[in-house]
Symmetry: C3
Subunit: 132 residues, 3 copies
């Protein structure tokens, strides 16, 4: 069986959000015990990734992204080219196994939504669950 | 139910192709209304990504990749090491939700096939749909 | 139908392992003929990628990662920040089509597990198969 739901967020520029609990809540809402959970971000200047939600690590990641795709470089695409570049280097879709009703994440794994755009945005994440 | 089809392309070096319509056509061919669409690129020197199909942005992305994995650097792997490196930084598989018979992409999201290899190549993309 | 199994590895720092045969063995163990195989790494300082398993290319990839996320830089996250950064640039989940009982990989495609952490680790990879 396939189930689908949508999570919505209002994000601030350069913000990261830990959305693990929200995705887990969707899995529980549909009572999925065993299966696979796909999350898909509808957007081209934000990203999804799974890693440790640590404030210091987030600062390190931002610095790395600023080295690879600096905001103040000259780009051809106007305004938010660096936001697109960062989005491309990370992911916009992830698939996570579900076991015993829980996302099968490791101890330090959190699902993170990164906003790379230059202003506030409304973000939509589609959660598709296969299983039962 | 699971359905599978294959898309084939003849690509030129450094080319990018917007394959969104082709993937959507496969979804329609199998009349999938609700589900998940996985696309998988059989290749190690090209990549798939979802982002805005804008000519100026594409130039910015190429410049970023040229900074990270320059073609004229000395590499141990002969000939096309930079093509492999760029492929690894991007993706070779993506999963996109299907709703009401359509790929659930955002307004600016296109599915892009990037050819990073140094000469013309034949590329095969496997489309696997789960749903009905 | 959905099937799940787990692969376990003891990895050394900076090691890469070709796990293609192990994943294929799981597909055969459950006699999956047609479907999709998801592999998910439970960890934040290692990564999964699909590319050519060539010793010289692996050296080139390590050099690129050392340029992007050098181990000897000052980071805020203690000890293994560069391991997390490399993990984020690559992937921790992949989905591969299965056809005629085989992972539908290209000629040069191998599934590679990269250990980026600074010491020996136990790694768990969840294999979820959808199909039959």
């Amino acid at each position: 069986m396939i189930f689908r739901d949508v999570l919505e967020y209002k994000t601030k520029s350069e913000e990261r959000l830990d959305i693990t609990k929200d995705v887990q809540a969707v899995v529980e809402k549909y009572s999925i015990q065993e299966g696979l959970c796909n999350i898909f971000l509808k957007g081209t200047t934000a990203a999804l990734t799974i890693n440790e939600d640590d404030r210091m690590l987030m600062a390190d990641i931002k610095k790395m992204l600023a080295r690879i795709a600096p905001p103040d470089k000259f780009y051809q695409h106007p305004e938010n080219a660096h936001s697109h570049l960062r989005s491309i280097l990370m992911n916009n879709c992830l698939s996570i196994p579900i076991a015993n009703g829980k996302l099968l994440l490791g101890t330090w794994q959190s699902i993170l939504l990164w906003e790379f755009d230059v202003e506030e945005r409304d973000r939509m994440i589609v959660v598709t669950m296969i299983g039962g």
